[in-house]
């Protein structure tokens, strides 16, 4: 492992100032992603700044009837909270569908949405990867694309040598639930505090695949807020994977159904948690029978670009994500009628 210095600042403001003044500094929270990447050589910082104790570890009720989750709350604690289980089942289910007990006990609210892609080439420092080493190219194009994107990519067959090419997906389950819940991210940075709508936190590769989010260097997530859902809302998370437990999503769906309104976010399909707003729009005010949902997903997926690759590529995701959405919405609406 490349040597680095380690700092344990006294509070969040000092942590932000410390990282802001050192270009090659990173925050460390639960460590389940960063410590792994330090060992693999995927992350090569000069300074690691421990923030695990510096943000709140409480879940508090907010004035509008929602919840504020401190960034240090662990994924296990969040999934076990009675208010989360009762009011935001989609979030509790997404958390419990991710990783294992030993990892969820370490993983934090701030760290989980900021985990990096599981693209195998990103994690293998011997292969070109624009995200890890800007300008080196993308090894995934035409390679092992089973876990890669079908939405938000630059072209049907992107140029593997172009510096902007990246077809990676965002791996977090929790983030898909936060996207459907219209969560708000509280951030403390060198220039002060700001609030970022969760849907705008993650970005598409655009012309710089090395950046996963809109956070500036030194910006620390301090809390994530959940607005209240309408009375009677129902929500669920459904994850499809290669084995029953302990695997990343091939595709996943977070859904909220309330007063005839359907909200959908998709995982495993894009560089960011994908809010399916075109499908939501197509369903607005109409019936939510299977056919309508299938049609809405056709609309959503008109721009989908399946990636060729070994073992047939990832075109299977198009029917798979549609069927998963149909089944999830059906379960939720049938429960509502029952």
């Amino acid at each position: 492992m490349k040597p680095f210095a380690f700092a344990r600042p006294a509070d969040a403001a000092e942590a932000v100032a410390t990282v802001a003044t050192e270009p090659r500094a990173v925050f460390l929270a639960g460590g389940t992603n960063l410590v792994d990447h330090l060992k693999l050589g995927v992350a090569r910082p000069d300074l690691v700044v421990d923030v695990r104790r510096l943000t709140s570890r409480e879940i508090t009720d907010t004035a509008d009837g929602g919840l504020r989750i401190g960034a240090a709350v662990t994924n296990s604690e969040l999934a076990a909270d009675r208010r989360v289980r009762e009011r935001y089942p989609v979030l509790a289910q997404a958390l419990l569908a991710g990783a294992t007990g030993q990892l969820r006990n370490l993983a934090t609210t701030g760290g989980n949405p900021l985990q990096r892609t599981r693209c195998v080439y990103f994690q293998d420092v011997s292969t070109p990867c624009n995200k890890r080493e800007p300008g080196s190219g993308c090894s995934a194009v035409g390679g092992y694309t089973r876990y890669h994107a079908i939405l938000g990519t630059s072209a049907a067959l992107p140029d593997p040598t172009a510096p902007e090419t990246c077809i990676a997906t965002h791996p977090s389950d929790m983030a898909v639930a936060l996207a459907v819940l219209d969560a708000q991210v509280q951030v403390l940075g060198p220039a002060g505090a700001r609030t970022i709508p969760f849907a705008e936190l993650h970005r598409l590769p655009g012309d710089d695949p090395s950046r996963d989010t809109v956070l500036e260097h030194g910006e620390l997530i301090t809390a994530i807020d959940l607005p209240p859902l309408p009375a009677g809302a129902r929500s669920a998370y459904r994850k499809v994977r290669d084995r029953a437990s302990y695997a990343f999503a091939l595709v996943s769906v977070a859904a909220v159904v309330a007063d005839g309104e359907v909200r959908l976010a998709l995982g495993g399909v894009a560089h960011k948690p994908w809010r399916a707003s075109r499908a939501e729009e197509a369903l607005r005010g109409g019936p939510v029978a299977d056919d309508a949902v299938r049609h809405a997903m056709d609309v959503e997926l008109t721009t989908a670009q399946p990636q060729p690759g070994v073992d047939g590529g990832n075109g299977f995701k198009i029917p798979l994500v549609t069927r998963t959405v149909v089944a999830t919405v059906r379960d939720l609406t049938q429960e509502t009628q029952a």
């Binding site: 344990r8 294992t100 007990g101 990892l103 370490l106």
Partner: protein, 160 residues
């Protein structure tokens, strides 16, 4: 750094620890506690599972700098002078140990699962056991004997 923490109930101090090395490394190489095993070093296999402030974690992914001031429990802390811990005895009796590499992590994870289930009023069911131990990989047993061992441990711990 000088690392100060509590391990299996007794206060420990170790000098010349690099904050960036893993807690697993500190336990095995600096504290003479090789019970927790080092297999994947990536959070995948669970053989390094220890208690950290009362909850099981993969110690291979905990930076030593983050262990400062905390309470750690390892497999070495389970048995007493007189007898094995009921979870250890159950693994032996059920024949759930072959090469034994996965065993220390499984013992800690099982102890946590059974303790939590019994506190909530019922021994864990099959599906629950499978899900709770999904992060502990075993290449030898095929898991059936491990399931038997967990159920046996739960039975015995409930009777205590």
């Amino acid at each position: 750094m000088r690392l100060t923490c509590t391990v299996n109930g007794s206060p420990q101090q170790v000098d010349d620890v690099w904050e960036g090395e893993s807690l697993l490394y500190v336990l095995r190489e600096r504290m003479g506690l090789p019970g927790s095993k080092n297999a994947c070093e990536q959070g995948e296999c669970g053989s390094c599972t220890v208690y950290l402030d009362g909850t099981p974690v993969c110690s291979c992914l905990v930076a030593a700098g983050q262990a400062e001031g905390r309470e750690i429990g390892t497999v070495e802390g389970m048995a007493t002078e007189e007898s094995l811990h009921p979870v250890q005895q159950a693994f032996l009796d059920a024949g759930a140990v072959q090469c034994g590499f996965c065993t220390p992590g499984l013992l800690v994870a099982t102890d946590d699962l059974v303790t939590r289930s019994l506190a909530a009023g019922a021994p864990p069911e099959d599906a629950e056991i499978r899900e709770a131990l999904a992060g502990n990989l075993c290449r030898c047993t095929g898991y059936e004997k491990i399931l038997d061992a967990v159920k046996l441990a739960a039975q015995r711990m409930a009777a205590r």
